[in-house]
């Protein structure tokens, strides 16, 4: 519960800043910090609290993924290309947190341009998983993930294009949610794959995520894909989760394709144990099939790079971002600035994207992928006729060691095998802590129908009332 009455926001914020000063050098969760700005916001929050105009998040310190433009803050997207970029405006998400009176603790580390599943592609270095410093926190929201797990913030924002909120939530043992596409404005959120990107909360509990959803969602006419829907209170069902079997009548779909080859046996075991808990809570399990599941990865690795190659073409060294120190003519300036400013994984994805969109290949690759995308979305529509919520693992394994997959792009891409389909279909997805395997966190994934976040949060909350995986904290930090 983000409620603090005994101390001031300034004191609370200072506590987090002190923890960050102590632990961030080792963990590397934060890229940008500015204690003057942060404490000024905390003071302003204390004024609101004193005069009775506080909202639920007023005075609460959050970490913001460095993909959100925040006016006056260094905003790098984890890249050399934007290493010296000071955002001249606020992303809609940042404005929403400001209006709610929340405090910005700083900008968190991330895979470069959100491309990665381990935070190893960041220009600013990797991030340590607070549960085991030899291991990755997941990605691309690795910095936010480590900050939440190591309690270097009350909660954080992340973005999820192929799993970048959920997979780190699973690897670092906390609750993360990717909303239905279109619920959270992408204005000021540096674009990777525009039809897939979506921002969401990363926090200790479903309840905290629900409070953050109330702030983060809402129509914004500056984002052409923002949906204009009546405002919802995502916490509305939480208090009704009471009694012995609060989930009686809930049908949980278990897709057989998510429990097959490629899933670590220990992860499978933890997920199965979570399912047993859900039966005790009154839910009924339904076997379902998502037949086109195995096509998610190829489809994603056509569509996302294609969209990225278009989005990243704006980085040309002309008006902002990295410009090469030496160049002959305009073409040379473009080619060198981009080659120097982007890291290897980003360049790889731009090249794939350029290839699949190029003349002669568009039909065979991009169009084909868009068609299969519809088939994948249809699988879910069919499945949701038989169940209310779908469950399965979030990631195929627990946190892997730094460097283990860095040389093998395909092995890295397979980390997203269970999360990608929800991005392709535009559906909401969550990961909640469900236990441990060899001391490392394991996440349970929940997938819901369009706009069903409130129910998913209730379902997660029910589990968090009878288990305490979400309260576990790494030792020594």
């Amino acid at each position: 519960m983000l409620a603090k009455k005994e101390i001031s926001s300034v004191e609370l914020t200072q506590t987090f800043l002190d923890r960050i000063a102590k632990h961030n050098p080792a963990i590397n969760a934060y890229i940008a910090l500015d204690s003057d700005k942060t404490l000024a916001q905390a003071s302003a929050a204390d004024v609101r609290i004193a005069n009775g105009t506080a909202e639920p998040l007023t005075g609460i310190p959050f970490a913001q993924k460095d993909i959100f433009c925040a006016k006056g803050w260094q905003t790098t997207c984890g890249s050399k290309m934007l290493a010296n970029f000071i955002a001249p405006y606020d992303a809609h998400v940042i404005t929403q947190f400001d209006n709610a009176g929340a405090v910005n603790l700083g900008k968190t580390n991330m895979d470069e341009f959100a491309m990665g599943s381990s935070n190893e592609t960041s220009y600013f270095g990797g991030v340590k998983n607070p549960w085991d410093f030899d291991r990755v926190p997941g990605g691309s929201s690795g910095g936010s993930a480590a900050a939440v797990a190591a309690r270097l913030c009350a909660a954080a924002t992340g973005t999820d294009t192929g799993g970048s909120i959920r997979q780190p939530a699973s690897l670092c043992g906390f609750t993360g949610l990717k909303p239905t596409y279109g619920l959270v404005s992408r204005y000021g959120m540096i674009a990777f794959a525009s039809s897939l990107d979506q921002a969401g909360p990363m926090a200790k509990s479903a309840e905290d995520c629900a409070l953050m959803m109330n702030v983060m969602t809402g129509f914004d006419d500056r984002d052409s894909t923002s949906l204009n829907r009546p405002k919802e209170d995502y916490t509305r069902g939480l208090s009704k989760i009471t009694g012995e079997q609060p989930l009686k009548g809930l049908r949980i779909g278990l897709p057989k394709e998510y429990f097959a080859d490629g899933l670590d046996a220990n992860v499978a075991k933890v997920v199965q144990e979570a399912i047993v808990e859900y039966r005790k809570l009154g839910a009924e399990m339904v076997d379902i099939s998502l037949p086109n599941s195995q096509l998610s990865i190829p489809v994603y690795y056509v569509l996302a790079p294609a969209e990225a190659s278009s989005n990243l073409s704006r980085y040309d060294g002309v008006r902002y971002g990295h410009r090469a120190a030496e160049y002959d003519d305009l073409m040379d300036m473009y080619m060198k600035s981009r080659a120097e400013g982007f890291g290897a994984e980003v360049k790889r994805r731009i090249l794939i994207g350029t290839y699949v969109l190029s003349a002669g290949y568009y039909d065979a690759y991009y169009l084909k992928a868009q068609q299969i995308r519809r088939l994948i979305a249809q699988d879910f529509t069919e499945a949701f006729k038989q169940c209310d919520v779908i469950m399965g693992p979030t990631a195929p394994s627990t946190a892997f060691k730094a460097g283990e997959k860095a040389d093998d792009p395909v092995a890295m891409y397979l980390q997203d095998v269970y999360t990608i389909a929800t991005n392709l279909a535009g559906l909401p997805g969550m990961s909640i802590p469900a236990g441990f395997s060899n001391g490392l966190p394991v996440g349970l994934q929940l997938m819901g129908n369009y706009f069903d976040e409130a129910r998913m949060l209730d379902v997660a909350h029910a589990y968090q009332q009878v288990t305490d995986w979400h309260l576990a904290m790494p030792e020594g930090i």
Binding site: N84, F85, I86, P88, T180, Y181, G182, S195, D221, S224, T225, Q294, L295, I297, P298, V299, Y301, S313, D316, G317, V318, R319, Y320, G321, R323, A324, A325, E326, Y327, D328, D329, D332, M333, Y334, M335, K336, A339, K347, R348, I350, L351, I352, T354, Y355, S358, Y361, A364, Y365, K368, Q370, Q371, I372, R373, R374, L375, A377, V410, Y413, G426, Y450
Partner: protein
């Protein structure tokens, strides 16, 4: 679809990415691996399926054709890159951005 070095160089040029011979070779190996992954799509019959670019049935919103943006040139030009080629000045002059000559 097997790629070769010429393909890599052509794509790199389209993407305006300078690439060395060594990088091109490394990229060829990695990209061939990734393309192998996406080949799986070809086995699927998608005849008659409408491509999907967006999950919700929405249309592009329109707005009145009036000026809403304000002039923030100075703010934006604070982020202008360094000119380079020996100069440490910002690549701006008289409110314009400086780039190499395009038209001869």
């Amino acid at each position: 679809m097997a790629l070769n070095i010429t393909d890599i160089k052509r794509i790199a040029h389209l993407a305006r990415l300078e690439i060395s011979e060594q990088e091109a070779n490394q990229t060829l190996t990695k990209l061939t691996g990734i393309l192998g992954l996406i080949e799986q799509m070809q086995a699927v019959d998608t005849t008659g399926i409408t491509p999907m670019s967006h999950s919700q049935d929405v249309v592009q919103r329109l707005r009145a054709d009036v000026v809403t943006a304000t002039n923030q040139r100075e703010t934006f030009q604070a982020n202008a890159p360094t000119l380079g080629n020996g100069s440490t000045e910002k690549a701006v002059d008289s409110g314009l951005y400086l780039v190499p000559k395009v038209i001869e």
